[in-house]
Each structure stands twice: as structure tokens, then as C-alpha cells.
């Protein structure tokens, strides 16, 4: 079985990702317990708080996880000098996961304590217990089974949701899932999904056993148990605090990338070049979805990543598309300097434009060469476009208008899924990337943009002005990459990763060595 072989061959990495996953789940659930249990108890004491607090927790659970991540990234919430929430990475993911975990914990604490037999409560009060004594010696121990049931639900939800945390570079088994989607690789998707499901089952089983031991049959509330759990939570929090301190201390450059293969290869190329030429240690913060890389650059979470001129012009600066490549570059360079204090360095040398793709057999049968050729067939065709293409101002809407196209159906799906959908005949036309290695592998044909609708998308490293000023070697390292990558080279590297299943790190290193860009001393 392929999955088994993959897992066996990558067991160290699978183990590492599982640990990261458990870390995200453990810390976030721990925080949710520390907040949710006292809140649930407070609700039993002041029922008037119930509506607003449960309402808030309810709303949090309905917010889609990617949206919640997006909302938390620009925040800057500090406790002393430690950034608790905001930015990309584990901290923000943990904050989001903790928000999700709150509802079941608050609700079960509340119902668990309210569910204690009123006669027992009255007896306790009648014996002269203070409210605190009644709570800690009687109500909480008796409600513990129900509270643990809430923690169990919260944990299982967190194991699932944490896979999405890979979208903001928080690590975990989601990395395999996202990578698998991107590379059109079922084995890789399963390599993330199966261990995640096993973790969820294990957590469910383990907490189920704990719940049972505290449940209705519970003979005795063991104080040492409670201290052990509390101790574990505090230790986990201490680790995250230490990690936060540590990451702020060392001199380093963080290189970012968006969440597709080419970007990860380019991220590696930047990272290895910088490492080789500056000696500064590089932190890789890859796989940032949507505009997260841009947000992270502005927030100072990363110092540099590769952006495309056309994307910056229309999707980030919200300016109308232009067709002249030099003009676009000049425009984004001056706007970025003014608006964001970010510097566009020199172009890498290739243009990754949108590629309108059809199946090779269809192209041959219908004699399709240019986009204009498809106008006749479009009303019968189903189109499959990535979210990005559908929503961008230089995307679907203008494209359809420019060529006068009306499709029978437009299906919005993950970009990586569109290739497979096209190859399988589920859709008839997609918008991919011109440098995509899958184009050749799946036998797809790129139609010529004969009306020059798509603006140029020259790949250029964009860096923080402040960092370039502080680390002059960084500018020199980036300058070495000027014009270094042709579109063919980029397509080959993409195919090496997507088609030949090689590691982006190795492909980048091989390229840099062949071009004598690193290792020259």
C-alpha cells in the first residue's frame, strides 16, 4: 500500500508533524480549559451572564476557521512583552483553536454543576459550607465527569480544526493535507488525514476513559489527579511562553511564501541564497494562504517573499490592470514604497501568468489554439476556477468580459483540485498557472491570451525597507538572483516537485548549485 510505504519512509517527519499537531491541540485546549471552566462556574453563580457569554462562544464556533485565522493575524495583543495573539504561526492558530474549544467546555461546566442533585447542594449549605467550599469540595468533583465530556468534545474538534492551521504556517499534520492538495497527491493527503483521524480517535478514547473514571461511578475525587492536570496545562503554557521569548531574541531573517509549489521552491531559493551569502539564520514561514504573506510582511512577521507584479497591482493595490510589464513594475515599486515601506527588488526573470487550460484531446479535436477559439464551445462547457481567480479583479469577471464568454457552469474549487477535475473530465476548462509542472504531466494545453487580457505577473522578491537597511547583505543576496530563473526552469522545478515528488529544498539547492549561485564562497 502506497500510504503505508510513505508513512514508513517518512516516519520521522510524520512523528514531528504529529507532535506539532498535539502541541497545537494541547495548548489551545489547555487555554480553553483555564478560561472556560471558571467562566462556566461563574455562569452558575450569575445566571444573568449566561446569555452574553454562551452567545459569544456560540458565535465563535460558527465562524469558519480560515476566516477566524484571517481576523486574528492583524491583531497585536501583548501580555508584557510577549505577543499572545496576532501574526502567522502557532500563536494565532492556538488562539483560534482555543476560541473554538470554549463553547463545549463552558456549556458542560455550566450544565454539569447545575446538574448536581439539589438535595446534595442543600445538605452542603445546611452543614455550613461556604459557597467556595461547596463548589470545590462538592459541585466541581461531582460535575467533573460532565466537564471532562466537554473537554473531550473540544479536543476532538481541535484535532480536526488544527489541520487547517497549516494554512497560517502553524505546522501540524495539515501540512501534508495542504501539500497533497497542491500536488494533486492522494497519498500525501491521506498521510496527513489518517494520522490526524487516529489522533482524534486516540484523544477520544483516552478522554473517554478519564471521563468514565470521573463520571457517575466515580468513587472518589482524587486531588492529585486535579493537580496533575493543572500541572500539565501550566507546563504547556510555560513552553509556549518560552517559545515566544526565544523567537523574538535571535538575529534571523524570516522568508515567507504563498501556499503553492512554485512559491515554496522560490522561498527555498531565497532562503538558501540568503543563508549562503549572509550567514544569518533563516526562518522559513511557507504555505501562507490568500494574502497572508503580504499581511505577514507588513506586520514584520516575515522579511521577504516573492510576489508577482500583476497580483500586487490588482489584488493588493486594487489598481486597474495594465498590460505593459515595465510599467506595472514601476507602478507597484513606487506604490509599495509609499504605502507600505516595502521594497520591490529586481525581477527573478520569469512571468507566471494565468494559463487558460483545456485537455489535450479536446484541443486537438476542436483545433483550439487561442482563448478566442473557445467562444463557440463555452456555453456548453463547465469551468472550474480557484477561489483566487474567481475573486480577483484581474480574474474571471474581466476575463469573461474581454473574450465575451458565457459558460454553462462555473465551479469554484481549490486551485489544486481544478487540474484533477479537468483531467478527469469533470470540468472542461480551468485557469492554472503558466509555470505549473502539472500542465505537462496531465497533458493539458495552454491557450494563447490573444487579446492580452492578463497583466504580466513577473516574479519579484519584496522585502521590508527596514530590514534591507539593517542587513545590507540581504539586498546583495537578493540582487544575485536578478534574472536568474527562466519560465522553463521554473516549470521544470515545479514538475520536479509536483511530478517527480522531490523535496522543494533539494530541487532549489540543485538549481542554485547548477547556476553557481551558492557555494561559490
Amino acid at each position: 500500500m502506497k500510504l503505508w510505504e510513505f508513512l514508513a519512509a517518512h516516519r520521522a517527519e510524520v512523528f514531528q508533524l504529529s507532535l506539532e499537531h498535539l502541541f497545537l491541540v494541547g495548548v489551545s485546549t489547555g487555554i480553553a480549559i483555564l478560561i472556560g471552566v471558571p467562566l462556566g462556574i461563574a455562569l452558575t453563580r450569575r445566571p444573568a451572564l449566561g446569555k452574553p457569554i454562551l452567545g459569544f462562544a456560540n458565535i465563535m464556533q460558527t465562524v469558519p476557521s480560515l476566516a477566524l485565522f484571517g481576523f486574528l493575524i492583524p491583531l497585536n495583543i501583548y501580555l508584557f512583552h510577549i505577543r499572545l495573539i496576532g501574526g502567522i504561526g502557532a500563536r494565532t492558530a492556538i488562539a483560534a483553536l482555543a476560541l473554538y474549544a470554549l463553547l463545549p467546555i463552558i456549556r458542560n461546566t455550566f450544565t454539569g454543576i447545575n446538574g448536581v442533585d439539589p438535595a446534595i447542594r442543600e445538605a452542603g449549605r445546611g452543614l455550613g459550607m461556604t459557597d467556595r467550599q461547596l463548589l470545590l469540595q462538592v459541585e466541581v468533583p461531582l460535575a467533573l465527569g460532565v466537564i471532562v465530556a466537554g473537554i473531550r468534545v473540544a479536543t476532538v474538534i481541535a484535532v480536526g480544526t488544527a489541520t487547517i492551521a497549516a494554512a497560517i504556517d502553524a505546522g501540524g499534520l495539515g501540512r501534508y493535507i495542504f501539500r497533497g492538495l497542491r500536488m494533486n497527491d492522494n497519498t500525501l493527503i491521506l498521510a496527513g488525514a489518517v494520522p490526524a483521524a487516529l489522533l482524534a480517535l486516540a484523544a477520544d478514547f483516552f478522554l473517554g476513559a478519564v471521563e468514565h473514571s470521573f463520571g457517575r461511578g466515580a468513587r472518589r475525587f482524587n486531588r492529585r489527579h486535579a493537580f496533575a492536570v493543572l500541572g500539565a496545562v501550566i507546563a504547556a503554557l510555560a513552553v509556549i511562553v518560552a517559545v515566544s521569548f526565544h523567537s523574538g531574541a535571535a538575529r534571523r531573517i524570516a522568508v515567507g511564501s504563498k501556499d503553492f509549489t512554485e512559491q515554496i521552491i522560490l522561498g527555498e531559493i531565497l532562503a538558501q541564497t540568503i543563508e549562503d551569502r549572509t550567514g544569518v539564520s533563516v526562518e522559513r514561514r511557507f504555505d501562507l494562504g490568500g494574502n497572508l504573506a503580504h499581511d505577514a510582511l507588513i506586520a514584520g512577521e516575515i522579511e521577504v517573499y516573492v510576489e508577482y507584479t500583476g497580483t500586487a497591482l490588482t489584488a493588493i493595490l486594487k489598481l486597474p490592470p495594465l498590460s505593459d510589464a515595465r510599467e506595472v513594475y514601476r507602478r507597484v515599486k513606487s506604490e509599495y514604497a509609499q504605502r507600505f515601506h516595502l521594497e520591490w527588488t529586481e525581477p527573478l526573470g520569469f512571468n507566471n501568468t494565468f494559463a487558460i487550460l483545456v485537455r489535450g484531446d479536446a484541443a486537438k479535436k476542436l483545433g483550439l489554439k487561442t482563448i478566442s477559439d473557445i467562444a463557440r464551445y463555452a456555453p456548453k462547457w463547465r469551468a472550474g476556477f480557484g477561489q483566487d481567480f474567481v475573486s480577483r479583479p484581474d480574474g474571471y469577471e474581466g476575463f469573461a468580459r474581454a473574450y465575451g464568454l458565457k459558460f454553462a457552469e462555473v465551479r469554484e474549487m481549490d486551485l489544486s483540485l481544478t487540474y484533477r477535475a479537468l483531467a478527469n473530465g469533470q470540468v472542461d476548462i480551468i485557469a492554472g498557472n503558466s509555470t505549473d509542472g502539472l500542465i505537462a504531466r496531465l497533458g493539458l494545453v495552454q491557450l494563447d491570451d490573444d487579446r492580452h487580457y492578463f497583466p504580466p505577473y513577473d516574479a519579484v522578491p519584496v522585502a521590508r525597507e527596514e530590514t534591507l537597511g539593517r542587513e545590507p547583505e540581504l539586498g546583495a543576496a537578493l540582487a544575485a538572483l536578478t534574472g536568474a530563473i527562466s519560465v522553463e526552469e521554473m516549470r521544470r522545478m515545479n514538475f520536479a516537485v509536483d511530478g517527480e515528488r522531490r523535496a522543494a529544498r533539494d530541487v532549489a539547492e540543485e538549481f542554485l548549485r547548477r547556476k553557481k549561485l551558492v557555494g561559490g564562497g
Partner: protein, 255 residues
């Protein structure tokens, strides 16, 4: 003053719900030290409310209640409750505590050392007729209803409170067990000489245990007197209760 001191005194005490409904109106009643006052009445007549006014589980909305000559509202509620033993029908034993731990609740809250606590628990279990060696380390669910109720009494007595409140303590027991435990309780009562307020709707139990009986109806006292006064009364509510007693005797006397 006749030299006997008063343990509990209700002075025009009343209790009204927030919606204005009166559960108890203008109650005047004294409980002498060492006597057992039985509050008798139908469900909803205000017996339990009266009891809860004594240990401040409720505060009177009208008038006042004095315990050891101090209004309850001037007592610290926690201190007051630890001076008053409290036994309820549902017993309310803590299911996650052993019998020993249940009886030791108040001594532990009062900070007794473990040696003294253990000795006291054994003494009390003996007193209520449970062998400490057999029962101390068991859990409430392992006991019968009658045994649980004995533990409830032992728990209420743990810190040797001068006053004991009992709210239908034997109401949930089967008739045979109830008879037995009533008899034992009567012996215990004589031996301890505590001030007791005992709520019941069982007129037989009232006659067995009471120094005096207060019959309540709709939150007011219908009759307050010794059992003998009770039999002589012509009040229809009293007569209804007394007929229960006679009915039971006649049924018992029938072949």
C-alpha cells in the same frame, strides 16, 4: 421567665416569595432548650420554610427569628449553620465521599485534627447503630435507605451542635424500617438532650417524638400544644390529623 432558656424564637416571622405570595405569616413560636418541637402539617403548609428560617437557608421577610437570643440576620450564616445540625429527607450524602468522610465534613471544615475526627466519626457511627469497621470506608450507594439516613443523622451530630433540625428525615423509608429507626431515634433523643425541630406529616411520628406539636396550615399555626392538647382539640384540621392516627390504630386492631 421561668428559668428555662429559649433556644429558638420566632417573633411575627413571615416569609414571602419575590412574587408576593406568603409561605409563612406572622409566626410566633418559641422552642425551649432541650425540647423537641414537631412541625406537623400537609405538604405546602410552611413546615420546611419554618425550618429554613432557623439556619438562614432563608431570611424572614417579616418579623425576625432569634437563635440563642440573637436574630439570625445578625449571625454569620456559616457559623450559625455549623452550630445547627441539619437532616433532610433526601439525606444529601456526598456520593463521592466515603461514609467516614461524609460524617467528618463539619469537623474537617472546623479544622479538627484527624485523630479527633476519626474518634468522633467512630463514636457517632456507633451511636446511630452502624458498625464503624464495616461502614466507615463504604460509599453511600452501597448502603440501604435506612443506613443512609442513620449516616445523615450522624453527620448532623458530628460537631456536637446544640440544635438539630430534621426535615422529614424518615419520610422516604419503608414503614418497617421507619418504625425501627423512629424507636431508635427516640432513645437517642433522650440520651442527647438536644433542642430539636422536627418536620413531619406523619401524625404517629409526631406523637412518638414530640414534646410539643405545632400544626401548620397555609403558613399559619392552627394549634400549638402537647400531644394531649391535640387529642382534645375540636379544630377540623386537627381532627383530620387525629383521625389518621385513630384510623391507623383501628386498622391495626382489626383481625
Amino acid at each position: 421567665m421561668n428559668g428555662k432558656s429559649t433556644a429558638i424564637e420566632f417573633q411575627s416571622a413571615g416569609f414571602r416569595l419575590p412574587d408576593g405570595r406568603a409561605l409563612l405569616s406572622a409566626l410566633d413560636l418559641t422552642v425551649e432548650r432541650g425540647e423537641t418541637l414537631v412541625l406537623l402539617g400537609r405538604s405546602g403548609s410552611g413546615k420546611t420554610t419554618t425550618l429554613k428560617l432557623v439556619n438562614r437557608l432563608l431570611d424572614p421577610t417579616d418579623g425576625r427569628v432569634l437563635v440563642e437570643d440573637r436574630p439570625t440576620t445578625e449571625w454569620d450564616a456559616i457559623r450559625l449553620r455549623r452550630r445547627i445540625g441539619y437532616v433532610i429527607q433526601e439525606v444529601g450524602l456526598f456520593p463521592h465521599f466515603t461514609i467516614e468522610e461524609n460524617v467528618a465534613v463539619v469537623p474537617r471544615l472546623e479544622g479538627w485534627d484527624s485523630e479527633r475526627t476519626t474518634a468522633r466519626v467512630r463514636e457517632l457511627l456507633d451511636l446511630v447503630g452502624l458498625d464503624p469497621d464495616r461502614f466507615a470506608s463504604r460509599y453511600p450507594h452501597e448502603l440501604s435507605g435506612g443506613q443512609r439516613q442513620r449516616v445523615g443523622v450522624a453527620r448532623a451530630l458530628a460537631a456536637d451542635p446544640p440544635i438539630l433540625l430534621l426535615d422529614e428525615p424518615f419520610g422516604a423509608l419503608d414503614p418497617i424500617t421507619r418504625r425501627e429507626i423512629q424507636g431508635e431515634f427516640r432513645a437517642l433523643q433522650r440520651r442527647l438532650g438536644k433542642t430539636m425541630v422536627f418536620v413531619t406529616h406523619d401524625v404517629g411520628e409526631a406523637f412518638l417524638l414530640a414534646s410539643r406539636i405545632a400544626l401548620l396550615k397555609d403558613g399559619r399555626i392552627v394549634l400549638l400544644g402537647r400531644p394531649a392538647d391535640f387529642l382534645a382539640s375540636r379544630d377540623p384540621e386537627v381532627a383530620a390529623f387525629v383521625s389518621c392516627l385513630r384510623g391507623a390504630d383501628e386498622a391495626a386492631a382489626a383481625p
